[in-house]
């Protein structure tokens, strides 16, 4: 339930505060200050610009591949802010740009992975874009193999539980993942040991081209949680505040030893699966256009404005600032060197290359 708290917007931090705003009383969701809400909005805007830049760079022939999270931003940012950042681990999948950017990845780091540069901190240019590995920010290593990481996340949670460390693991995946055997094995394992895990399905109704009705015979992924002995909860994943509340409750359950929760965030996929896919081969332009009405960014913008937490001038300023960051990061990353052939052989084993 949202708590009514007094929020002096004039006292919010310089970066995100509005000019000459009145002291007002607003109803804010529990755990979220006005400043945090604006910061979350800022992460969504930044993500959108990074994702747009990724596709643009691909179409310019500057990067070989791009995948975006457009339509998922609200769910991902909400989940990131529901966790204890710096303590809790996220085990993401490849459509989690907003989650990463909200969990400490910077625009420069993001652009470096798009360009696959040598100093790309995630993989040194060894992996596809958005395949993060950032131990210092508690972001696990991402695979392209669907649902494999769900088992890793459960193993990590088992380790935390064994060491009695109050760490929660958030594991994200699409609805297609839930068809994989590994997903079932991981869910089952987590249920048996009542592990401190939040499973979040970002259900965008398509696994590349295959719609949900050909993926499963149930209406909701959340329904599957019953088979594992823990709750499944559905939320509108295009609604930041609704998703935040649901994930926050799941995180609290996990941290207090009450076991896992399966959160199903209903989202949509605005773009094709990746830059190598054309969604118009399996859905119509009208369908794609209709999805724009669900865009989480204008929706959150309106929500913030309605409550006097943002105004047009601040929005404009935030967007300009984010655009400048992305532009700077793009130019900077593009100028960085790619890996050399000598970099090919490192890190096969801890001791180095095999031969």
């Amino acid at each position: 339930m949202p708590a009514l708290e007094e929020e002096s917007l004039a006292n919010a931090s310089n970066d995100l505060s509005m000019k000459s705003e009145p002291k007002i009383r607003v109803s804010l969701p529990e755990g979220l200050s006005a400043e945090t809400l604006r910061e979350m909005y800022g992460r969504m805007v930044l993500t959108r610009l990074c994702d747009d830049r990724a596709f643009a760079l691909n179409r310019q022939g500057k990067i070989p591949f791009a995948a975006t999270c457009q339509g998922h931003e609200a769910a991902q940012v909400a989940a990131a802010y529901a966790l204890k950042r710096g303590t809790d681990w996220v085990v993401p999948y490849y459509r989690d740009t907003a989650l990463a950017l909200a969990y400490g990845v910077t625009p420069r780091e993001q652009l470096m992975c798009l360009f696959a540069r040598k100093d790309d901190i995630f993989s040194s240019g060894r992996q596809f874009p958005n395949h993060y590995s950032v131990p210092d920010r508690k972001i696990a290593s991402i695979s392209s193999i669907i649902a494999a990481h769900v088992t890793h996340g459960v193993g990590m949670a088992l380790a935390f539980a064994m060491r009695k460390e109050p760490i929660v693991t958030l594991i994200t995946f699409g609805e297609g993942s839930t068809s994989e055997g590994e997903w079932h094995e991981a869910m089952n394992f987590a249920g048996i040991h009542q592990l401190p895990v939040v499973f979040m399905c970002e259900n965008n109704e398509f696994a590349i081209s295959v719609p949900q009705k050909l993926q499963m015979a149930v209406a909701n992924v959340a329904d599957r949680a019953a088979a594992y002995g823990f709750p499944g909860v559905i939320c509108d994943g295009t609604d930041v505040v609704a998703t935040y509340s649901v994930v926050r409750e799941a995180v609290e359950r996990a941290r207090s030893g009450d076991g896992p929760t399966l959160v199903e965030a209903k989202v949509y996929r605005a773009m094709s699966h990746t830059s190598d896919d054309n969604q118009l081969t399996y859905r119509t332009q009208d369908e794609v256009d209709a999805l724009k009405a669900r865009d989480p960014i204008p929706r959150f913008e309106a929500w913030l404005k309605d409550r006097g937490l943002l105004d047009d001038a601040t929005i404009k300023q935030m967007k300009q600032q984010a655009q400048a960051e992305v532009d700077e990061a793009t130019d900077w990353a593009e100028a960085q060197p790619p890996p050399t052939e000598a970099d090919l052989y490192t890190h096969v084993y801890a001791s180095g290359p095999l031969s």
Partner: protein
């Protein structure tokens, strides 16, 4: 306590040696945990982990659901977070549901994260035929794992090596597939010292010296090789038997040394021949030591079939087949 029991032993089976390695490592390092099907109260189907749940508790000796991908995937996650999981796959024939987690995840995480994450885990699993295990309790699938950079593959042939190699594997920073020759679990005893020692990974052992031909093998085929060497010795032919012990990374120096010494090579494995591990060793020798060869490199292995139940004896390489191979290269 268990260490004290080991101290009294002079002669141990491989089962006892493996158990003492696990007990000593779990005593030494609380991050070492074991997981697998039936490894708890049951002690594993081969009793390698018998009694460990009483000693270390269910937190560190985890009976898992019947789900190999789940076992290996959970072990990867535990290792990512700094534990040292030792997962048992009940028979290596059952590893394939978890193959993905091993070859695309465990093996590649260090490389794909540019060294930021490592996966220090061991997958222990009994392998091999000759125990009336039928098609799915008999296979020897080392070639699949050896073909995956990032994995190490270890196969002991005797109790002493089994203990030292398992300890070295648990301490290794990278994922190790530890294949245990189930035929040798209880059929051979050797001196196994009490206390901790490592047999280094990547080092072969010359288990019998000879100057006329080199018989290069590993695991459950080592006793077969030694029998073949005995037979040859009756005709005055001295066969050197090299036990590779680690298949990946393998001991290139030891191979070059024995080939340089004898000039005749027979490679012996249990698995089907085509695409098998011996092919790698043959290629290595051909590329690096052809000037020493005085005859063809001859392979002896299982037949290129699935593993048969009733015809197990006809399938498994035996000393006579090895002798014929030795004669083929020696009489070239």
């Amino acid at each position: 306590m268990a260490t004290a029991q080991v101290a009294k032993q002079t002669q141990s089976t491989m089962v006892q040696a493996l158990q003492s390695a696990l007990v000593e490592e779990m005593d030494r390092d609380k991050d070492v945990v074991i997981l697998g099907e039936d490894i708890g109260v049951r002690g594993g189907v081969f009793l390698i982990t018998e009694g460990l749940v009483d000693k270390f508790g269910t937190d560190r000796v985890i009976d898992t659901p019947l789900a190999e991908a789940g076992i290996i995937g959970a072990a990867v996650g535990m290792a990512l977070y700094g534990l040292r999981p030792v997962a048992e796959i009940q028979f290596i024939d059952f590893i394939f549901p978890g193959f993905d987690l091993l070859v695309t995840e465990a093996a590649k995480i260090r490389y794909r994260s540019a060294g930021q994450f490592g996966v220090p885990m061991v997958i222990r699993s009994p392998y091999g035929g000759g125990v009336r295990g039928g098609s799915y309790h008999s296979q020897s699938p080392e070639a699949y794992f050896v073909a995956t950079p990032g994995l190490k593959v270890v196969v002991p042939s005797n109790p002493y090596d089994a203990k030292g190699l398992l300890i070295a594997s648990i301490r290794d920073p990278d994922p190790v597939v530890f294949m245990e020759p189930k035929k040798i679990y209880r059929s051979v005893k050797s001196d196994v010292p009490a206390g901790t020692y490592e047999v280094p990974l990547g080092k072969a052992a010359v288990v019998r010296e000879g100057k006329h031909a080199s018989l290069i093998t590993f695991g459950a085929m080592v006793p077969v090789a030694l029998e073949a060497a005995d037979i040859m010795n009756k005709d005055g032919v001295e066969v050197e038997v090299v036990d590779l012990r680690t298949l990946q990374p393998y001991d290139t120096e030891a191979i070059l040394q024995t080939v340089g010494k004898t000039g005749h090579v027979v490679l012996l494995q249990e698995a089907p021949q085509i695409g098998g591990y011996s092919g790698e060793i043959a290629a290595f020798i051909a590329e690096n030591a052809i000037e020493y060869l005085e005859g063809p490199i001859v392979r002896v292995g299982g037949w290129d079939t699935a593993f048969p139940y009733a015809l197990e004896k006809a399938y498994m390489p035996n000393p006579n087949r090895v002798v014929r191979a030795l004669k083929k290269t020696l009489n070239f």
